[in-house]
């Protein structure tokens, strides 16, 4: 049908051209219009309210239907990996916070643990518990931010304000703990720099009791909302096999039915000591990803609760030298960041600076799946899918 149509169109436009020549007009090519354009290239971003930063997506459209996409990234590239090669291990730690600035604590945890592993030291148990508490709180905060912006993309204004209100409570705990709210730099290589402040446990417990009904509030707004269901069900479907082939991890992978979480699969920090579940979805659509993230918040609360109850006494810094000089060697260590597998591949040449530091960013790899997920959908769905992958451009571009 389409080939036939194209021939016809070409034929017709040729005829139109020849007739134009007759009428002495200097119009060489017939202009394209909406109706007639079989393919339309639209540029979304880098300045677009719904691309979560400076992502630029080139959409190839048939009418409003997406035929294909191409992501243009790098607008926020700062050369983190190059910077790492010119900083000492200690000096570089704050830089990792700036990658996924919505989950700075998780980034720091991954980096510190990687360097510790390279040096073959271990953080003391108390430090590990503090790390787990803060990281899980950060996971909740990251998911809250995701939920708010994702809902805003789909047109629901109110959840944004609810989630930011509640995220504030987490940021307050961070601020009290380490003085910073967003790019915390909470951990040091070998443990934590700060002892918990007086009343830390109480604050965290207060937050848990405060937050439990709030998740229900978010869910009341969205989970059974008809429009939300229509906008998210069967939108951006990706199968588990596709996820694995594309290296997609985190909630997106779990929503496609693969029960895989690094906290369970290859436990790090103190995660093996806690009892929690890995929520999974079935259909791998936007709605399942939403549900999985909501469940993850609840599971994170469970972990935090157990960790606060069982937090041991003891030192918070392990035995690490003042000058950090890991032996020659290389290490890959990854953690389950809120967005997926966050890995650090560090090559040491025995000096105080990493010889090569590679970050395996979850957002970057997950964003690759966008093209597969939005094919055949409409333009409005692209926005929903970008939101549901949960990208942070600071991490994509590094």
């Amino acid at each position: 049908m389409s080939a036939y149509k194209n021939d016809q169109t070409n034929d017709a436009s040729n005829r139109a051209l020849s007739s134009l020549d007759r009428s002495n007009l200097d119009l060489k090519t017939p202009d394209k219009t909406y109706l007639d354009s079989n393919e339309l290239i639209i540029n979304m971003g880098p300045q677009h309210p719904a691309t979560h930063g400076v992502l630029r997506v080139i959409l190839k459209l048939d009418g409003e239907k997406v035929l294909g996409t191409e992501c243009v990234i790098g607008y926020l590239h700062r050369g983190v990996e190059k910077i790492a090669e010119n900083r000492t291990y200690t000096m570089f730690a704050p830089y990792v916070d700036r990658m996924d600035y919505c989950a700075a604590v998780s980034n720091g945890l991954g980096y510190c643990e990687a360097v510790e592993k390279l040096m073959n030291v271990e953080a003391p148990p108390r430090a590990q518990y503090i790390r787990v508490i803060l990281t899980e709180l950060q996971r909740i905060a990251s998911h809250q931010l995701w939920l708010g912006t994702h809902a805003l993309d789909i047109g629901a204004m109110t959840p944004l304000f609810y989630t930011f209100r509640d995220r504030e409570e987490i940021l307050k705990i961070f601020e009290k703990y380490c003085g910073a709210r967003l790019t915390t730099h909470a951990f040091r290589i070998g443990g934590c720099q700060y002892e918990t402040y007086a009343g830390f446990e109480k604050d965290v417990k207060n937050f848990l009791t405060f937050f439990a009904p709030k998740i229900d509030e978010y869910e009341a707004l969205l989970t059974t909302n008809r429009i939300w269901l229509e906008r998210t069900k069967n939108v951006g479907v990706i199968s588990g096999a596709d996820c694995i082939a594309l290296g997609v991890t985190g909630p997106v992978l779990r929503a496609s039915g693969v029960k895989w979480d690094l906290r369970k699969a290859q436990p790090y920090a103190a995660y093996s000591k806690f009892d929690f579940e890995i929520p999974t979805g079935e259909n791998g659509d936007t709605y399942d990803r939403y549900l999985v993230r909501m469940q993850e918040m609840r599971q994170s609360m469970r972990i935090v609760e157990q960790a606060v109850d069982a937090i041991p006494e003891g030192p918070i810094m392990g035995k690490v030298p003042k000058v950090i000089k890991p032996p020659v060697g290389e290490i890959y260590h990854s953690i389950e960041a809120p967005k997926g597998e966050l890995g650090y591949f560090i090559v040491s040449d025995g000096s105080t600076q990493p010889y090569r530091l590679r970050v395996r960013p979850p957002s970057f790899v997950n964003l690759q799946a966008l093209d597969l997920m939005v094919r055949g959908l409409l333009v409005a769905d692209v926005i929903a899918v970008i939101g549901t992958i949960d990208i942070v451009l600071g991490e994509v571009d590094r």
Partner: protein, 432 residues
């Protein structure tokens, strides 16, 4: 006093100035409505921002005047003195007058809205038809504005919003027809298209049409209530202005005063369609239970409501005064709010005095004035409920996708409204 002023006031039967042939009073009414709607739109601006803020655990405007009461005025001044940018590539003339089309359509509708049995500019024989027709002219303004901007987002926004408005008009019209059908269920068997006639039909039949033939009226009303949200491009059907997709839709290129005309038109249209809904299904100007609680005592009690409402508003403002922090920074705000409360209280007193004075419900001037206030009050109250709903929707719901919107319009609303129309006709024949 000149005869042309008094003759209308002295006439014994309650007629609209248009019907009574008093061009002077028709002009006065037009001016009152124009001013009233403008003020209502400005007030809506404040109320919407405030309400949305409170839905979203924010405070909303707080700085300009006490609790941001003067914010809309500040906004209006800002918009008026802003530069009126006309893009170089735009179609200058069309770009210039496109906002006026929408505004003109939105305001013309008010000539037939019955705020009371005689509180309308005119009682047209084809009132509802006229309303639907003129309000559908608003689409022209949007289409033309999007086209004249000569830019992609406005054009897509304009095409989307006009496609949306045109398709929802169909379901809306059919729902209206089923209400009009109900007006014909009287002894003579003839219905009416007149807005006042429709309310009077509800009065005669002793039931608001929303409760007529129980689920039928309700379904038709529900269809209209959904279609009117789509018709005015409000959330969750605000695809044309979906900022996450199309920045601002058809008015992306507009700025300053011209942009504010679009806002004015949008809010005026919201009030207009709410008025249609109130007139057709919610008994228009009638107070609750006029046929059950019809004793003069009840009349008196209900006529106290306007005054009491203002009294309550004044009390809320006074509470606000009391709750303001006792800091010198808030002194002017406190004084301002107190003055506002006093103003509200004064209006409340005035209304209560009128209610008491007009108690006898005869055809004296005070009595008629009292009746008029009553009618307008109940009408505006019902419209206000719809305005609240508009804001509530916006705060609660995500946005539909365009294909879903069209699917709902054509595949759900249209068949249901057709079905309701047919069933209403059948039931009407059987039971009349």
């Amino acid at each position: 006093m000149p005869n042309f002023i008094m003759s209308y006031l002295d006439s014994k039967e309650a007629l609209t100035p248009g019907s009574a042939g008093s061009q002077f009073w028709a002009l006065i009414y037009v001016l009152i409505i124009f001013a009233g709607v403008s003020v209502a739109v400005i007030a809506m601006n404040w109320i919407e921002r405030k309400l949305l803020a409170h839905f979203q655990v924010r405070l909303g405007p707080m700085r300009v005047g006490p609790h941001g009461l003067l914010q809309p005025i500040a906004d209006a001044v800002k918009l008026m003195i802003k530069e009126d940018i006309i893009p170089a590539e735009a179609d200058q003339l069309v770009f210039w007058f496109a906002p006026m089309i929408g505004l003109l359509a939105a305001f013309t509708v008010y000539t037939v809205i019955p705020f009371g049995p005689s509180q309308a500019v005119s009682d047209m024989n084809i009132g509802i038809l006229f309303m639907l027709g003129v309000s559908s002219l608003g689409v022209l303004g949007i289409v033309v504005a999007g086209w004249a901007s000569n830019s992609h987002y406005p054009l897509i926004g304009a095409l989307r919003s006009s496609a949306q408005m045109v398709s929802y008009e169909v379901a809306m019209g059919l729902a209206v027809v089923s209400a009009i059908l109900m007006t014909s269920l009287n002894a003579s068997g003839t219905g009416t298209l007149s807005m006042i006639g429709i309310v009077q039909a509800q009065q005669q039949q002793g039931v608001w049409f929303i409760f007529k033939f129980f689920p039928l009226g309700l379904i038709a009303f529900a269809i209209f209530a959904i279609a009117m949200v789509a018709e005015t491009n409000r959330a969750p059907f605000d695809l044309a202005e979906a900022e996450s997709e199309l920045t601002a839709g058809y008015h992306t290129e507009y700025s300053g005063l011209r942009w504010s005309l679009f806002m004015l038109a949008e809010y005026a249209a919201m009030i207009a369609v709410s008025s249609i809904a109130v007139t057709l299904w919610l008994g228009g100007w009638m107070r609750p239970f006029p046929n059950l609680l019809h004793a003069p005592a009840w009349d008196f009690i209900f006529s106290l409501f306007p005054g009491l409402t203002f009294l309550a508003l004044a009390a809320i403002a006074l509470i606000g005064v009391a709750r303001m922090p006792a800091h010198s920074f808030f002194r002017i705000q406190r004084i301002g709010l107190a003055v506002f409360a006093a103003l509200l209280g004064f209006v409340a007193l005035l209304l209560l005095v009128i209610a008491v004075a007009g108690r006898s419900a005869d055809m004296s001037v005070a009595g008629r004035f009292n009746d008029g206030i009553d009618h307008v009050y109940w009408f505006v109250l019902k419209v206000a409920v719809f305005m609240y709903l508009f804001i509530w929707y916006r705060a609660t719901w995500p946005r539909y996708r365009f294909d879903q919107l069209m699917k709902i319009g054509w595949k759900v609303m249209l068949p249901i409204s057709l079905g309701v129309l047919i069933v209403t006709a059948i039931v009407g024949v059987i039971f009349s």
